[in-house]
């Protein structure tokens, strides 16, 4: 075990802690934030099941984005779907062959989709980046953090794709390292510049995720225009503080 290996062990525990606690705190905050009014964007579903379907369509197909801007949708959806494929492919470093999920991972279709998905991811990111540069309105409202996120993810995807397509790394030892992290039985990290860069950037992403725009991932579920049922007449919508006023009024009347 080199000092570098120990550093990365520490880095990943720290990054995981920051990521999990940070995102959990944010979710708590979103959950606590009052939604004083019934404001689903119509046409909206009138039942709770309908809302689940609408949310699912939103999460899986990005349907609102599709309706508003086809180009952003093409690149955005392409990027996110490729991200999913890459994530599934990476699971092979974290789970072993006796796991129930193993058949999903150890499957040539999934593995190939993950590998070539990297190219789709880069294409999607290029499109999203181009949009910030070439579309006047979008360029005007783009902040440095918008660019930073794109560049960071682009760098992660590039280093990852290079290990798949250009120069290989010792993935058997990499898997040992990852399993070592999970089972607190630390193993050395392969000494490979590309891999170290890739992992360092991923750790950085995990560290800043809880304070970044990437929180739109959990945030989407708390979006009142999307997660509310369109039933203001059938069921009165009362916010918590509204309830408190109601209660006080009722008490005063009594």
């Amino acid at each position: 075990m080199t000092a570098l290996s120990y550093f990365f062990v520490f880095l990943f525990y720290a990054a995981t802690a920051v990521f999990v606690i940070g995102v959990a705190r944010k979710i708590m905050q979103y959950a606590r934030t009052p939604a004083p009014l019934k404001i689903p964007t119509t046409p909206a579903p009138v039942t709770q099941t309908g809302v689940v379907f609408r949310m699912a369509r939103e999460v899986v197909l990005f349907s609102s984005l599709f309706k508003s801007n086809k180009w952003t949708w093409v690149f955005g959806w392409m990027f996110h779907f490729a991200l999913l494929l890459a994530f599934v492919r990476h699971l092979r470093y974290a789970i072993s062959s006796d796991n129930i999920l193993w058949p999903l991972i150890n499957n040539s279709l999934v593995l190939a989709a993950g590998q070539y998905g990297a190219l789709a991811m880069l294409l999607g990111l290029t499109g999203l980046f181009g949009r910030r540069i070439f579309v006047d309105r979008v360029r005007y409202i783009s902040a440095p953090s918008d660019y930073l996120m794109l560049i960071l993810i682009f760098a992660i995807a590039t280093t990852g794709a290079m290990m798949s397509f250009v120069t290989h790394t010792d993935i058997v030892q990499l898997k040992s390292f990852v399993l070592g992290l999970i089972w607190f039985n630390w193993q050395p990290l392969p000494n490979d510049g590309l891999l170290i860069t890739h992992l360092a950037l991923v750790a950085l992403l995990m560290l800043i995720f809880p304070i970044s725009k990437l929180l739109h991932a959990p945030g989407l579920f708390f979006s009142p225009t999307r997660n509310q049922v369109d039933n203001p007449r059938e069921k009165r919508h009362i916010s918590p503080w509204g309830q408190a006023i109601d209660d006080a009024e009722a008490k005063a009347k009594a």
Binding site: F66, S108, L109, A112, Y116
Partner: protein, 405 residues
């Protein structure tokens, strides 16, 4: 003539969900068939070392040929500047892409090594017409995609004409390429004819227009929108002309073959004593695929009936599939002439007519490709603004008033 308004269909009716559901089931069955074929190997199909291309290729080639023809309507509007066809150009282009994707899916899933698609996309032997076709197919999808975008993005409309030109020429080359897959095979008696290429182009016109007319009439009927008689009648006459051209090319193909003595054997096989292939040719291609639709289109009792036109389109499609079967399977079933003047016997089925019996799996794969194309069109008209709200004659026909006088 008013400006054309496009809108997505609602797609919330029970009928729509039933349509998508049924098509989805066929696609799923086709997918399962493909998995089954890949898992076991091709021994579960009727294809052999004697008849190497089978049912999947019949459907795939038909879909690819029809894809090129489905672009007819868009081409007529962009290239020949016929205003009456313009409103339907986006649907025509979308249908073309969907049919091509359906056909290619079947072709790819039938490969011995479908997981080597990447190899097929990265390694090209430029002497191979097959490799050319891969470029032609991908190029077609790219060009038509741009064309669709230019037609649907209002501010880009002015450029759509140029993309229309490009797509038109590209698809002529594409069908020439598909025909050449067979035309360039010197080994087999039934192929090896330059006329294959233009014949495939003409066939694409007829098959593609038939599929387009069915999709158009169904879309308008089932979404409750108005489709004018003028549009239907105009396209139906065009279809009649294309069918006539197909007949002419079939005649020319067989007559040229018959002129050379060396081809008498294969011509006798296809036209007189080839069993299933002879029957399919005369009853399937000629009677059902050409003469019956011509009658329905031009006979004065049926020519004004939409039902008759729908039936005519379906018959053209069935005739097309049957013609593909005759060309692809019949061409392989006839023995190769290696030793003229000799009776040939061997342990590898030399000399005799080869048998081919398609299994359920390969037929489902082919049908699955067809259903895939149609389900993609059904979804496209729901999410994209590609269908004019009204195709009533007064809204789309520039000569409407003149005729009404």
């Amino acid at each position: 003539m008013k400006a054309i308004r496009y809108r997505e269909i609602d797609g919330n009716s029970l009928g729509y969900f039933a349509l998508v559901g049924i098509l989805g089931l066929i696609v799923a069955a086709g997918g399962l068939a493909a998995l089954y074929m890949e898992h076991n190997g091709h021994w579960v199909t009727g294809m052999t070392n004697q008849v190497v291309w089978g049912m999947p290729h019949v459907f795939a080639v038909f879909l690819i040929v029809a894809a090129s023809g489905a672009l007819n309507v868009a081409s007529i509007s962009s290239v020949f500047n016929k205003k009456a066809y313009k409103p339907l150009a986006p649907l025509s282009a979308i249908l073309a892409v969907c049919l091509l994707l359906g056909g290619l899916t079947v072709l790819v899933l039938d490969l011995g090594q479908p997981d080597r698609l990447v190899v097929a996309m990265t390694k090209y032997n430029f002497k191979s017409i097959f490799a050319w076709n891969m470029i032609l197919y991908n190029g077609f999808i790219a060009i038509v995609a741009v064309y669709i975008w230019l037609m649907m993005e209002r501010k880009m409309n002015v450029y759509s004409k140029y993309a229309g030109f490009a797509a038109f020429f590209w698809r002529l080359i594409l069908t020439t390429g598909t025909g050449s897959i067979f035309g360039f095979i010197v080994a087999r008696q039934a192929y090896d004819a330059a006329i294959m290429a233009p014949m495939f182009v003409i066939m694409s016109f007829a098959y593609g227009l038939a599929v387009f007319m069915l999709v158009m009439m169904a879309s308008y009927k089932w979404s409750g929108r108005e489709l004018g008689e003028g549009t239907i009648q105009r396209m139906k006459s065009l279809l009649g002309v294309f069918i006539g051209a197909v007949l002419y090319f079939l005649l020319a193909y067989h007559l040229t073959n018959l002129y050379g003595t060396e081809n008498h054997g294969v011509e006798a096989f296809l036209l007189v004593d080839g069993g299933i292939y002879t029957k399919l040719f005369w009853y399937g291609t000629i009677l059902i695929g050409c003469l019956a639709p011509l009658f329905l289109i031009f006979c004065r009792f049926t020519k004004n009936s939409n039902t008759a036109i729908v039936i005519a389109c379906i018959l053209v499609i069935l005739g097309g599939l049957s013609q593909m079967y005759v060309i692809i399977i019949g061409g392989q079933a006839y023995p190769m002439e290696m030793f003229p003047g000799k009776i040939v016997e061997s342990g590898f089925f030399d000399g005799g007519v080869k048998s081919y019996t398609p299994t359920l799996a390969e037929t489902l794969l082919g049908l699955g490709g067809f259903a895939l194309a149609l389900i993609m069109v059904s979804l496209a008209v729901k999410v994209l603004r590609c269908l004019p709200v009204s195709m009533a004659d007064k809204d789309v026909d520039p000569h409407y008033k003149a005729e009404a006088k």
